[in-house]
């Protein structure tokens, strides 16, 4: 009797926690939506007065040299007679200053941008709370099905972005595209993918679940951030190309793309991000293979999920290889990076939904 009562009680608490988790996820979506509007306001009210810097840098040498930003290298305090280290950029590279950011130097725009970032922090805390209560409600890692995977994924992606911001990296331009897609991701999670909180099937009972799935989510989130950078790079690069060859970009492109960092900076950003997680992605696949060895009796069996992880890995290897050896900077490498991220996405959504395999949450 008492035992049964205790069980019922525990179940009730868990259901409570699961409900709290749902409320938190919906609240996070509401806060992100506000952040989205604030970012829109930042872009709309941001000044366009600086528009034309890129064009100037690309067409007039004199202005370019006058406008060239001074790079402060960390590493020494400013002693008056200390010799300066002069940095030269690559031969043949365009020497274009980074755009001023969404606010475009406008105070009101900047204010909206700051509000957006603050709201993002708030939304992120609420979302993280949602993931945590979900985990507590099932007393396990919250990665047993696609719903849980989705909410964790966007939490990590926003976390990566906020960490980069906290490290004073120039990444606020990521804000709008990131929040937009996070909203899509969460919308998909709560509508199509929602699964009531529950225990795991035996094949998922393993500490490799923690290792393999957590790194997979993390890598995906970072690859995603890299892909956004790559995509913006492609737009910005066309814009600079157009300017450099004397073309006139449309006023929308002029206004929006002008405020992004230069193509070279975006390219470098996405390369670094992708290169930094590639070893972890390699580890993720190997951890998965070890787990498969324990769960299914073979460490590699060309299950669709395994195949697509492998394809993703090869595609990213191809991208890094192209950059390291053939010196493919720029558009060609960018296409490879996007293909690689497309493979990752397909591995997640496509394989789970369209292809059936051994992975137990396949088929949502």
């Amino acid at each position: 009797m008492t035992h049964a009562a205790a069980t019922t009680l525990a179940v009730a608490t868990n259901e409570n926690l699961a409900n709290i988790s749902n409320v938190l996820i919906y609240s996070a979506m509401a806060v992100y939506l506000l952040a989205f509007f604030a970012h829109m306001a930042e872009w709309l009210f941001g000044s366009r007065s600086k528009v034309g810097r890129t064009a100037a840098a690309l067409t007039t040498k004199a202005i370019a040299s006058a406008e060239a930003p001074k790079v402060q290298v960390k590493g020494g305090t400013a002693v008056l007679d200390r010799p300066k280290v002069v940095v030269r950029s690559a031969a043949g590279a365009r020497d274009v200053p980074d755009g001023p950011g969404a606010h475009g130097g406008d105070e009101q725009g900047d204010l909206y941008g700051r509000i957006a970032v603050s709201l993002t922090v708030l939304g992120w805390l609420v979302e993280a709370g949602g993931v945590l209560t979900r985990a507590l409600s099932v007393e396990r890692a919250p990665w047993g099905n696609m719903y849980e995977f989705n909410i964790t994924f966007s939490t990590v992606a926003v976390g990566v972005y906020l960490t980069l911001l906290a490290l004073k990296k120039n990444v606020r331009w990521l804000g709008l595209p990131l929040i937009t897609t996070v909203l899509l991701d969460l919308g998909l999670a709560v509508t199509v993918l929602y699964t009531a909180s529950d225990q795991l099937v035996p094949a998922l009972h393993s500490y490799w679940l923690w290792i393999h799935v957590s790194t997979a989510i993390f890598c995906g989130a970072v690859f995603y951030v890299g892909a956004v950078g790559t995509l913006l790079y492609l737009f910005r690069d066309s814009y600079e190309n157009k300017l450099a060859t004397g073309g006139k970009p449309g006023s929308f492109a002029g206004s929006v793309l002008e405020r992004l960092p230069s193509a070279a900076s975006l390219d470098k950003f996405s390369y670094r991000v992708n290169a930094a997680v590639f070893p972890l992605w390699t580890f993720t696949i190997i951890a998965g293979a070890i787990w498969a060895g324990d769960a299914w009796g073979r460490y590699w069996g060309w299950d669709p999920k395994e195949v697509w992880s492998f394809i993703t890995w090869v595609a990213y290897a191809c991208y890094l290889h192209a950059r390291a050896t053939a010196g493919w900077k720029g558009r060609k490498a960018a296409y490879l990076a996007l293909i690689a991220f497309g493979c990752w996405l397909f591995n997640y959504y496509g394989v789970n939904i369209f292809v059936s395999g051994k992975h137990s949450y396949a088929g949502v």
């Binding site: 179940v11 690309l58 067409t59 060239a68 930003p69 001074k70 402060q72 290298v73 590493g75 020494g76 200390r82 010799p83 300066k84 280290v85 002069v86 940095v87 030269r88 950029s89 031969a91 043949g92 590279a93 365009r94 020497d95 009531a196 529950d198 225990q199 099937v201 035996p202 094949a203 393993s206 450099a244 060859t245 004397g246 290169a275 590639f278 070893p279 390699t282 190997i286 769960a295 009796g297 460490y299 590699w300 069996g301 060309w302 299950d303 669709p304 697509w308 394809i311 090869v314 290897a317 191809c318 290889h321 050896t325 053939a326 010196g327 493919w328 720029g330 493979c343 394989v351 292809v355």
Partner: protein, 600 residues
Amino acid sequence: MSTKTDDTAKADGPDAGSGAEELGAAGSQLSTAPVEDAPNLPALGVIGWARWFWRQLTSMRVALLLLFLLSLASIPGSLIPQSGTDEFKVADFKKAHSTLGPIYDKLGLFNVYSSVWFSAIYILLFVSLIGCIVPRTWQFVGQLRGRPPAAPKRLTRLPAYATWRTEAAPEQVREAALGLLKRRRFRAHAAGEAVAAEKGYLREAGNLVFHVALIVMLIAFAGGQLFKSEGGKLIVEGDGFANTLIQYDDFRSGSLFDPDNDLAPFSFTLDKFTGTYERSGPNTGTPRVYRADVTYSEGADGKPKKTAIEVNKPLEIDGDKVYLIGHGYAPVVTVRDGRGKVVFQQAVPLLPVDSNVTSTGAIKVLDGYRDKNGKKEQLGFNAFFVPTFAGAGQGNMFSTFPALDFPVLALNAYHGSLGVDAGIPQNVYQLDTSKMKEFKDSKGKALKQRLLPGETMKLPDGAGSITFEKDIKQWATFQISHQPGDGWALTGAVAAIGGLAASLFIQRRRVWVRATTGPDGVTVVETAALGRSESAKVPEELSALVALLHAEAPTAPDGPPSADKPAGSASATETEPAAPGQAPEAESPVPASVEGAEQQ
């Protein structure tokens, strides 16, 4: 991958921005990557062609192409059913697509990962890899043995540069720089008027380790395929298994596996199988725990030990692994003949057909049975079993829950010849009724009955009976795998990650410090740094070095004559704001695109 590629490679290649030609040896060999040369179609003999082919195969362009092809080639295998993973799906597919099926078969699309074309790609890739790795390793050893290259003539052309005048003597500056660089773990030496230093060899080492580890992993994987064995065995509670070929239900092995000598001598008995299932909520019926309690002994006559095998916890015996793969029920039935003699008493494993373990199978009484006239005959029963019956009148005979809550066994009975003597291998779970007659009940209808545990079905006309005993056993299927090369694959994988991390996170760079006596007798110090790729870290590091060196050789009180001052340049950015023009001469190349713009 046309000549355009080569152009880009030259323009922004590894040493881009340093004016590679002018740097000469200083900029060379900052990596061991092979130099791309345009295909120079030879008018040569066989050897010439072979050499040309080899050069192409081991070139980066082809390596990239093969890498890309490999990922493309793995796609069909994930979309088309594969016979290695699921024979049934392949059969279904062939049935459904009568024209595509044979074409796919010819193309090896049901067997992508062992098809000729897939193998060709990865073998070419690995030949290319080996052809690339060997010379790169030699070159790297050469670089380790040699010394960092001497300073280029014009240090101002390097991506990071600093200069100042000092009263310290040139030798003094060089000595200080040498000590400083060595303390910071640079390989440094004095060459003429300059000190040359290099650091970050671990990057190259890591890169080589990574590529070698790929080869190790491939060999381990391939070796594993050749020497592996894998077999399945269904065991009912209370029964055992000894690891010999005849005991397996099915067995596969690599072409170099020797079943007479390579099977480890061990045995085990399934004592008890436990399955628990979710009792409530939306996921009612989902399995929670599967556990097989076994007693095993290692070697031919090892001591028996007890353990449990779970889904993620295989049992390791004698280097082989025993996995728990599936489970089901085996009702125990007793068959009596017309005279009441027990002719069959056994647990009969039935195969589950759905996730609630609705099971079907056949009970075959091969010998011992005589009908009421004493004539020898064989009996066969089609069995349908549900662990949880929905209740009489509640629709069909499908289970509503996977646990043994309300077990019911439904039977219909046949007599005649089971046809097992025909020499054709028979499915033990199916009854071949072509030479059998169905028993009829008193109304002339086929005899069919649902039994609860303990109940008996009487065969008509005193032909005997069959009893569904109260003791219902469970069975489990096990996979016994022998997979050599695991250890190697894992070692390779760990080395690959380590090597990759070193290769991606460590920057290989060179620093030069030149100290000469200027025309006015004051020492001029010039330092410059060059990295494998453009990175903010290189100037940062140079800046830190300059700060330290400057402390030992401070700036001479009077500034340099203005004629020496280089002008600012478009692509030169200074590291501290408002620096009075100390940038190098404006030699920066004008971007081609700018010229284009001016022409318009």
